[in-house]
Symmetry: C2
Subunit: 155 residues, 2 copies
Protein backbone atom coordinates (compact mmCIF):
# COMPACT_ATOMS: atom_id res chain seq x y z
CA UNK A 1 0.00 0.00 0.00
CA UNK A 2 1.73 3.13 -1.27
CA UNK A 3 1.10 6.35 0.68
CA UNK A 4 -1.00 8.58 -1.56
CA UNK A 5 0.23 11.95 -2.74
CA UNK A 6 -2.00 14.80 -1.51
CA UNK A 7 -2.25 16.31 -4.98
CA UNK A 8 -3.24 12.99 -6.56
CA UNK A 9 -6.07 12.28 -4.14
CA UNK A 10 -7.33 15.83 -4.50
CA UNK A 11 -7.24 15.79 -8.29
CA UNK A 12 -9.03 12.45 -8.27
CA UNK A 13 -11.77 13.87 -6.05
CA UNK A 14 -12.07 17.04 -8.10
CA UNK A 15 -12.38 15.09 -11.34
CA UNK A 16 -15.01 12.74 -9.95
CA UNK A 17 -16.91 15.64 -8.42
CA UNK A 18 -16.75 17.50 -11.71
CA UNK A 19 -18.21 14.58 -13.69
CA UNK A 20 -20.96 14.22 -11.12
CA UNK A 21 -21.91 17.91 -11.20
CA UNK A 22 -21.70 18.02 -15.00
CA UNK A 23 -24.01 15.00 -15.14
CA UNK A 24 -26.60 16.84 -13.09
CA UNK A 25 -26.31 20.04 -15.11
CA UNK A 26 -26.39 18.17 -18.41
CA UNK A 27 -29.56 16.35 -17.43
CA UNK A 28 -31.29 19.49 -16.17
CA UNK A 29 -30.28 21.39 -19.29
CA UNK A 30 -31.55 18.57 -21.49
CA UNK A 31 -34.90 18.61 -19.69
CA UNK A 32 -35.24 22.20 -20.87
CA UNK A 33 -33.74 21.52 -24.32
CA UNK A 34 -30.51 23.30 -23.51
CA UNK A 35 -26.96 22.08 -23.92
CA UNK A 36 -24.50 22.35 -21.07
CA UNK A 37 -22.80 25.21 -22.88
CA UNK A 38 -26.03 27.13 -23.33
CA UNK A 39 -26.89 26.62 -19.66
CA UNK A 40 -23.49 28.00 -18.78
CA UNK A 41 -23.90 30.99 -21.07
CA UNK A 42 -27.23 31.85 -19.45
CA UNK A 43 -25.60 31.60 -16.03
CA UNK A 44 -22.90 34.03 -17.13
CA UNK A 45 -25.42 36.47 -18.58
CA UNK A 46 -27.35 36.81 -15.34
CA UNK A 47 -25.16 39.72 -14.26
CA UNK A 48 -23.09 40.57 -17.31
CA UNK A 49 -23.49 41.90 -20.86
CA UNK A 50 -20.40 40.45 -22.54
CA UNK A 51 -19.51 40.70 -26.19
CA UNK A 52 -19.45 37.62 -28.39
CA UNK A 53 -15.66 37.60 -28.28
CA UNK A 54 -15.62 37.85 -24.46
CA UNK A 55 -17.84 34.79 -24.23
CA UNK A 56 -15.83 32.84 -26.80
CA UNK A 57 -12.55 33.59 -25.02
CA UNK A 58 -13.94 32.78 -21.58
CA UNK A 59 -15.53 29.52 -22.71
CA UNK A 60 -12.57 28.51 -24.86
CA UNK A 61 -14.74 28.27 -27.97
CA UNK A 62 -14.32 29.62 -31.46
CA UNK A 63 -16.25 32.76 -32.31
CA UNK A 64 -18.11 30.88 -35.03
CA UNK A 65 -19.29 28.39 -32.44
CA UNK A 66 -20.62 31.26 -30.35
CA UNK A 67 -22.59 32.60 -33.31
CA UNK A 68 -24.53 29.35 -33.63
CA UNK A 69 -25.00 28.91 -29.90
CA UNK A 70 -26.28 32.45 -29.42
CA UNK A 71 -28.44 32.29 -32.53
CA UNK A 72 -30.27 29.19 -31.29
CA UNK A 73 -30.83 30.67 -27.84
CA UNK A 74 -32.00 33.95 -29.36
CA UNK A 75 -34.50 32.12 -31.58
CA UNK A 76 -35.97 30.72 -28.37
CA UNK A 77 -36.26 34.15 -26.82
CA UNK A 78 -33.79 33.47 -24.01
CA UNK A 79 -31.41 36.27 -24.97
CA UNK A 80 -30.95 39.06 -27.50
CA UNK A 81 -28.10 40.62 -29.39
CA UNK A 82 -27.38 44.31 -28.88
CA UNK A 83 -24.82 46.69 -30.34
CA UNK A 84 -22.07 48.41 -28.45
CA UNK A 85 -22.01 52.20 -28.70
CA UNK A 86 -18.22 52.22 -28.39
CA UNK A 87 -17.40 49.76 -31.14
CA UNK A 88 -19.77 49.26 -34.04
CA UNK A 89 -18.24 45.89 -34.86
CA UNK A 90 -19.07 44.44 -31.48
CA UNK A 91 -22.21 42.50 -30.52
CA UNK A 92 -23.21 42.38 -26.87
CA UNK A 93 -25.34 39.56 -25.56
CA UNK A 94 -28.21 40.28 -23.16
CA UNK A 95 -30.38 37.88 -21.24
CA UNK A 96 -34.17 38.34 -21.50
CA UNK A 97 -36.68 38.05 -18.67
CA UNK A 98 -37.69 34.64 -20.00
CA UNK A 99 -34.05 33.59 -20.04
CA UNK A 100 -33.53 34.85 -16.53
CA UNK A 101 -36.58 32.96 -15.25
CA UNK A 102 -35.52 29.73 -16.89
CA UNK A 103 -31.99 30.12 -15.57
CA UNK A 104 -33.19 30.69 -12.03
CA UNK A 105 -35.40 27.62 -12.22
CA UNK A 106 -32.61 25.44 -13.57
CA UNK A 107 -30.16 26.50 -10.88
CA UNK A 108 -32.79 25.75 -8.24
CA UNK A 109 -33.23 22.32 -9.78
CA UNK A 110 -29.49 21.84 -9.67
CA UNK A 111 -29.39 22.69 -5.98
CA UNK A 112 -32.17 20.18 -5.39
CA UNK A 113 -30.51 17.50 -7.47
CA UNK A 114 -27.23 17.96 -5.61
CA UNK A 115 -28.90 18.09 -2.19
CA UNK A 116 -28.57 14.33 -1.58
CA UNK A 117 -24.81 14.80 -2.02
CA UNK A 118 -24.29 18.10 -0.23
CA UNK A 119 -26.60 16.93 2.56
CA UNK A 120 -24.19 14.13 3.42
CA UNK A 121 -22.07 16.59 5.37
CA UNK A 122 -23.18 19.18 7.92
CA UNK A 123 -23.58 22.95 7.41
CA UNK A 124 -20.23 23.72 9.07
CA UNK A 125 -18.46 21.28 6.82
CA UNK A 126 -20.28 22.62 3.77
CA UNK A 127 -19.01 26.09 4.55
CA UNK A 128 -15.54 24.76 5.23
CA UNK A 129 -15.51 22.82 1.96
CA UNK A 130 -16.61 25.90 0.04
CA UNK A 131 -13.82 27.89 1.70
CA UNK A 132 -11.18 25.34 0.80
CA UNK A 133 -12.45 25.22 -2.78
CA UNK A 134 -12.42 28.98 -3.19
CA UNK A 135 -8.65 29.52 -3.70
CA UNK A 136 -8.62 26.90 -6.46
CA UNK A 137 -11.22 28.65 -8.57
CA UNK A 138 -10.33 30.69 -11.62
CA UNK A 139 -11.70 34.23 -11.61
CA UNK A 140 -15.05 34.45 -13.43
CA UNK A 141 -15.78 36.85 -16.26
CA UNK A 142 -15.79 40.32 -14.65
CA UNK A 143 -19.37 41.42 -13.98
CA UNK A 144 -20.72 43.97 -16.45
CA UNK A 145 -17.39 45.67 -17.23
CA UNK A 146 -18.60 46.95 -20.54
CA UNK A 147 -20.59 48.98 -21.14
CA UNK A 148 -20.90 51.34 -18.19
CA UNK A 149 -24.58 51.84 -18.89
CA UNK A 150 -26.88 49.02 -20.00
CA UNK A 151 -27.24 48.75 -23.74
CA UNK A 152 -30.40 48.67 -25.82
CA UNK A 153 -31.10 45.22 -27.19
CA UNK A 154 -33.02 44.45 -30.36
CA UNK A 155 -36.38 43.11 -29.09
Amino acid sequence: MVPEDSTDVLVDGLVRSAFQVMGVLTRIGAEHDLSLTQLRVLGILRDRQPRMSDLAAFLGLDKSTMSGLIARAERRGLLTRGTSPEDKRAVVVLITDAGRDLTRRMYEEARGALAPATGRIGPEQRRHLAQLLEPLLSPPLPAAPRPERPVRGTP
Copy 2:
Protein backbone atom coordinates in the same frame (compact mmCIF):
# COMPACT_ATOMS: atom_id res chain seq x y z
CA MET B 1 -26.01 41.83 2.51
CA VAL B 2 -27.99 38.64 3.01
CA PRO B 3 -26.25 35.88 5.01
CA GLU B 4 -25.44 33.11 2.54
CA ASP B 5 -26.90 29.63 2.86
CA SER B 6 -24.19 27.00 3.34
CA THR B 7 -25.66 24.80 0.61
CA ASP B 8 -25.81 27.67 -1.88
CA VAL B 9 -22.19 28.71 -1.45
CA LEU B 10 -21.08 25.10 -1.68
CA VAL B 11 -23.10 24.37 -4.81
CA ASP B 12 -21.75 27.54 -6.38
CA GLY B 13 -18.19 26.44 -5.63
CA LEU B 14 -18.79 22.92 -6.87
CA VAL B 15 -20.30 24.17 -10.13
CA ARG B 16 -17.47 26.60 -10.79
CA SER B 17 -14.89 23.96 -9.90
CA ALA B 18 -16.63 21.49 -12.20
CA PHE B 19 -16.54 23.86 -15.18
CA GLN B 20 -12.88 24.58 -14.52
CA VAL B 21 -11.91 20.90 -14.31
CA MET B 22 -14.03 20.03 -17.36
CA GLY B 23 -12.30 22.82 -19.25
CA VAL B 24 -8.92 21.30 -18.51
CA LEU B 25 -10.03 17.77 -19.40
CA THR B 26 -11.76 18.94 -22.58
CA ARG B 27 -8.63 20.73 -23.75
CA ILE B 28 -6.34 17.80 -22.95
CA GLY B 29 -8.72 15.38 -24.65
CA ALA B 30 -8.91 17.62 -27.71
CA GLU B 31 -5.10 17.74 -27.91
CA HIS B 32 -5.26 13.97 -28.36
CA ASP B 33 -8.35 14.04 -30.60
CA LEU B 34 -10.60 12.66 -27.90
CA SER B 35 -13.91 14.00 -26.66
CA LEU B 36 -14.54 14.44 -22.96
CA THR B 37 -16.79 11.38 -23.03
CA GLN B 38 -14.15 9.22 -24.68
CA LEU B 39 -11.55 10.39 -22.18
CA ARG B 40 -13.93 9.41 -19.42
CA VAL B 41 -14.63 6.01 -20.95
CA LEU B 42 -10.90 5.29 -21.14
CA GLY B 43 -10.54 6.30 -17.50
CA ILE B 44 -13.29 3.87 -16.55
CA LEU B 45 -11.77 1.05 -18.58
CA ARG B 46 -8.42 1.24 -16.80
CA ASP B 47 -9.57 -1.27 -14.21
CA ARG B 48 -12.89 -2.59 -15.50
CA GLN B 49 -14.35 -4.60 -18.40
CA PRO B 50 -17.92 -3.32 -18.48
CA ARG B 51 -20.57 -4.24 -21.00
CA MET B 52 -21.93 -1.65 -23.43
CA SER B 53 -25.09 -1.37 -21.37
CA ASP B 54 -23.13 -0.84 -18.13
CA LEU B 55 -21.26 2.04 -19.69
CA ALA B 56 -24.40 3.57 -21.18
CA ALA B 57 -26.24 3.39 -17.85
CA PHE B 58 -23.31 4.76 -15.88
CA LEU B 59 -22.69 7.64 -18.27
CA GLY B 60 -26.39 8.39 -18.75
CA LEU B 61 -26.15 7.90 -22.50
CA ASP B 62 -28.26 5.93 -24.91
CA LYS B 63 -26.91 2.56 -25.98
CA SER B 64 -26.86 3.76 -29.59
CA THR B 65 -24.60 6.61 -28.56
CA MET B 66 -22.24 4.13 -26.94
CA SER B 67 -22.05 2.12 -30.15
CA GLY B 68 -20.72 5.12 -32.06
CA LEU B 69 -18.38 6.24 -29.30
CA ILE B 70 -16.86 2.79 -28.84
CA ALA B 71 -16.65 2.21 -32.59
CA ARG B 72 -14.60 5.38 -33.11
CA ALA B 73 -12.25 4.56 -30.23
CA GLU B 74 -11.89 0.99 -31.45
CA ARG B 75 -10.99 2.19 -34.95
CA ARG B 76 -8.13 4.11 -33.31
CA GLY B 77 -6.91 1.03 -31.48
CA LEU B 78 -7.59 2.40 -28.00
CA LEU B 79 -9.97 -0.39 -27.01
CA THR B 80 -11.54 -3.58 -28.33
CA ARG B 81 -14.88 -5.31 -28.12
CA GLY B 82 -15.06 -8.79 -26.60
CA THR B 83 -17.89 -11.22 -26.00
CA SER B 84 -19.18 -12.35 -22.66
CA PRO B 85 -19.19 -16.11 -22.09
CA GLU B 86 -22.26 -15.82 -19.86
CA ASP B 87 -24.51 -13.89 -22.22
CA LYS B 88 -24.00 -14.14 -25.94
CA ARG B 89 -25.92 -10.91 -26.53
CA ALA B 90 -23.50 -8.87 -24.43
CA VAL B 91 -20.42 -6.99 -25.65
CA VAL B 92 -17.68 -6.22 -23.15
CA VAL B 93 -15.30 -3.35 -23.72
CA LEU B 94 -11.58 -3.76 -23.06
CA ILE B 95 -8.84 -1.16 -23.07
CA THR B 96 -5.72 -1.89 -25.14
CA ASP B 97 -2.12 -1.22 -24.14
CA ALA B 98 -2.12 1.81 -26.43
CA GLY B 99 -5.29 3.04 -24.80
CA ARG B 100 -3.85 2.54 -21.35
CA ASP B 101 -0.68 4.43 -22.23
CA LEU B 102 -2.58 7.35 -23.69
CA THR B 103 -4.91 7.45 -20.69
CA ARG B 104 -2.03 7.52 -18.24
CA ARG B 105 -0.38 10.34 -20.15
CA MET B 106 -3.58 12.39 -20.27
CA TYR B 107 -4.23 12.02 -16.56
CA GLU B 108 -0.67 13.12 -15.85
CA GLU B 109 -1.24 16.15 -18.04
CA ALA B 110 -4.41 16.88 -16.12
CA ARG B 111 -2.56 16.78 -12.83
CA GLY B 112 -0.01 19.19 -14.28
CA ALA B 113 -2.63 21.51 -15.69
CA LEU B 114 -4.47 21.62 -12.37
CA ALA B 115 -1.28 22.09 -10.35
CA PRO B 116 -1.44 25.90 -10.42
CA ALA B 117 -4.87 25.60 -8.78
CA THR B 118 -4.21 22.75 -6.34
CA GLY B 119 -0.87 24.32 -5.44
CA ARG B 120 -2.63 27.39 -4.07
CA ILE B 121 -3.32 25.48 -0.86
CA GLY B 122 -0.93 23.41 1.25
CA PRO B 123 -0.63 19.60 1.38
CA GLU B 124 -2.61 19.37 4.62
CA GLN B 125 -5.41 21.41 3.16
CA ARG B 126 -5.35 19.37 -0.04
CA ARG B 127 -5.84 16.22 1.96
CA HIS B 128 -8.54 17.86 4.03
CA LEU B 129 -10.36 19.11 0.92
CA ALA B 130 -10.23 15.63 -0.61
CA GLN B 131 -11.65 14.18 2.60
CA LEU B 132 -14.52 16.66 2.69
CA LEU B 133 -15.28 15.97 -0.98
CA GLU B 134 -15.29 12.22 -0.54
CA PRO B 135 -18.74 11.80 1.07
CA LEU B 136 -20.35 13.80 -1.74
CA LEU B 137 -19.10 11.52 -4.48
CA SER B 138 -21.33 8.97 -6.15
CA PRO B 139 -19.95 5.44 -6.13
CA PRO B 140 -18.02 4.66 -9.32
CA LEU B 141 -18.76 1.72 -11.59
CA PRO B 142 -17.73 -1.37 -9.57
CA ALA B 143 -14.29 -2.52 -10.62
CA ALA B 144 -14.30 -5.58 -12.88
CA PRO B 145 -17.47 -7.18 -11.45
CA ARG B 146 -18.12 -9.16 -14.55
CA PRO B 147 -16.63 -11.41 -15.66
CA GLU B 148 -14.64 -13.11 -12.88
CA ARG B 149 -11.85 -13.96 -15.27
CA PRO B 150 -10.67 -11.61 -18.01
CA VAL B 151 -12.34 -12.14 -21.33
CA ARG B 152 -10.76 -12.69 -24.71
CA GLY B 153 -11.01 -9.64 -26.93
CA THR B 154 -11.08 -9.64 -30.72
CA PRO B 155 -7.65 -8.28 -31.71
